[in-house]
Amino acid sequence: MSDRNAEQPGTGLLASGQGFLARLRSSKLDKSESQPGLSATGGKAIVGEIVREYGSASNSRRWLVGALFFAPTVLAILYYGLIAADRYVSEASFVVNSARKESIGGLQSFLQVTGITTSRDDAYTVHEYMRSRDAVHDLQQRLPLREIFSRDEADFMSAFPKFLGTDSEVELHDYFLERVQVFYNVTTGISSLRVEAFRPEDAQRIAEQLLLLSEDLVNRINHRMQEDAVEFAQDEVNAAQQRLIEVQVDIKNYRNRELLLDPEKASLAVVERIGELSGELALANTEIRRLKAASPKSPRIATLHERVAALTAQIAEERQQVSGASEGLANKIAEYERLILRQGFLVKSLEEARQSLDTARQESRRQMLYLVHVVRPRASDIPQEPQRLHQILVIALASLLLFFVYWLVRTGVREHATSGR
């Protein structure tokens, strides 16, 4: 490239203006020094510009900026290289299943954000518990959680009462969330539990106990669900039975009161009696007619007339009994029939309640949740956390990217400032 003539000014192609030319010129300074043939008059102005632009003041600012963006990386190297304590990871995975199983995943999960299946809901229930302070509290009943998180192996940044932190339940919970992660894989429907601790067996124990506690939770939910559904149906059955018994008592009282076993049958008997009496009445009337025709002087006619009168009176009396104003059988039948009808209804509703109890029992059995272990937690033999090189790389690259942002904004502002002058 060096054969190109760098001193050809004003080629007219540098459309972007002063800033560029100035910068380019300043870069050419060294060359104009090294090549004695070049004009020194341009050089003076250029040097002035350089001094102006990169004087001692802005030089120290450059150092500051450089230090600012380098410091995180240096600190990361120091911390991850020398101080950071090893952490061992224990991983477990589980599935929260119910008997009716719907799996949803892939594109479907994208399109149906609201169409969350129940098994996923149940998995979230378990996750929510695992991440809760309740779980931390329950764990502490079974494991010395504070001791585990403040082992001698831990360094001051990663041990439990955090650097400049307090030894409180709330902060223990925050710390717990840093060391324990639960997540749900949409594609497979499997939940994963990941526990970090300073000793491999600690991580394993925490994972195991968390799974056991979650299983307890699932059992509690099952128990509750079963009780709720079945209890309601059982109440219905009990109420129906109670009502049936009450009606039965009413019927018994009625019978005792009216001295009738079955008013319907009683009325039938009366009607029959009326029929019989009517038959006899008819016979008697016929006999009277026959005797009047054959031997009008027969003494039997008088007796027969008495008989007819007696029969008529009896029939009238019996009729009175059936359809009398208040004491009549018809009224009694109406009341009796109401009771019987009620009894029939109640028997039916008892049957229905029994059936719904059966269904509720079956349903609750079908809705049972199961926490199925896919992978049991194991103690790992090498520390997997912290991933020192990864962390250092991430911090270095992140500072670099942030520096780019800073540089771009600074340059933009600076160009703007010069163009305004």
Binding site: M1, A6, L24, S27, V47, G48, V113, L397, V405, W407
Partner: protein, 281 residues
């Protein structure tokens, strides 16, 4: 100031003859050249009134805003399913980076900038690096700012896996650089290449994972897609944004191997065709 400068200059007269610059000096000149070129390109790319760079930020913000409004109106942003805003952002921004670096900067790169070689300290590699560096830095700045804003506003969750996100982003930058060089070389070599690039770009961008996750594909398609280097970059960024809830498929080593290979071919091509390019205005 001026006096001081003149004094300095006069102290050094006669200037010592240095046939070759030392490393420090060369590095200084190199950095000045790159600095100047990037600023030149910054001004021509985004304009002097600074709104250009802001537009680079506005695009993803607008996209995310529209998506959030749409999903909120349809009452589906309940946080339990996929975070649509994070999904859109982690697809759109790497896609922008890819488009800016590969075709945006690559097409006719040599024809547009050949005049700059009149300045003896500028080499063609400086031009290529400066152009691509600015595209990368500009889009990175937009990404960092937009992501920070959205995380602070709570629209998207904090980044779940910084390593995957940053490496995916860098991989996209490396691939964009490599293919940008390749396209720069090819477009300088033949004018017809420019005409067939848009359809190819369309196919590449729609099939490479900007608009879907590789896990959603059937096994066979997934296998094919993961041969393409772009998918690894998209999936990496996505893994960083969406976390372990979603299965992602990426292999940074594979992706960077591609980037390295394509960059080598592209730079070789540029070297080969550089001297024989007609200036196109």
């Amino acid at each position: 100031m001026l006096r001081l400068g003149a004094e300095k200059l006069s102290n050094k007269q006669p200037p010592p003859l240095l046939p070759l610059r030392g490393f420090r000096e060369t590095a200084y000149v190199q950095s000045r050249v790159l600095d100047a070129l990037v600023i030149r390109y910054l001004l021509s790319r985004y304009g002097r009134d600074n709104i250009g760079f802001v537009w680079l930020l506005m695009q993803p913000i607008l996209l995310t805003l529209l998506i959030v409004i749409f999903w909120t109106l349809s009452g589906r942003l309940d946080g339990r399913g996929i975070n649509v805003a994070a999904f859109a952002l982690s697809g759109f921004m790497p896609l922008s980076l890819w488009r800016f670096m590969s075709t945006g900067a690559g097409i006719n790169l040599i024809q547009k900038n050949r005049n700059l070689l009149y300045h003896r300290d500028i080499t063609y590699l400086d031009i290529v690096f400066a152009t691509q560096a600015l595209e990368f830095i500009g889009t990175t700045a937009a990404m960092v700012i937009v992501t920070s804003i959205l995380i602070i506003l709570g629209v998207i969750a904090p980044i779940q896996d910084y390593y995957a996100a940053i490496m995916g982003w860098l991989l996209m930058g490396a691939l964009g650089f490599g293919f940008g060089c390749l396209i720069a070389g090819l477009t300088a070599w033949s004018k017809t290449v420019k005409e067939i690039i848009p359809p190819i770009q369309l196919i590449v961008t729609t099939t490479s994972g900007a608009f879907f996750m590789v896990a959603w594909l059937p096994e066979k398609a997934r296998e094919v897609i993961t041969y393409l280097p772009l998918a690894h970059a998209f999936e990496g960024v996505r893994a960083g944004f969406m976390g372990p809830t979603f299965t992602t498929y990426y292999d940074f080593a594979y992706g960077f191997a591609w980037a390295l290979g394509v960059s080598a071919i592209g730079l070789w091509l540029i070297t080969a065709v550089w001297e024989n390019v007609d200036i196109e205005r």
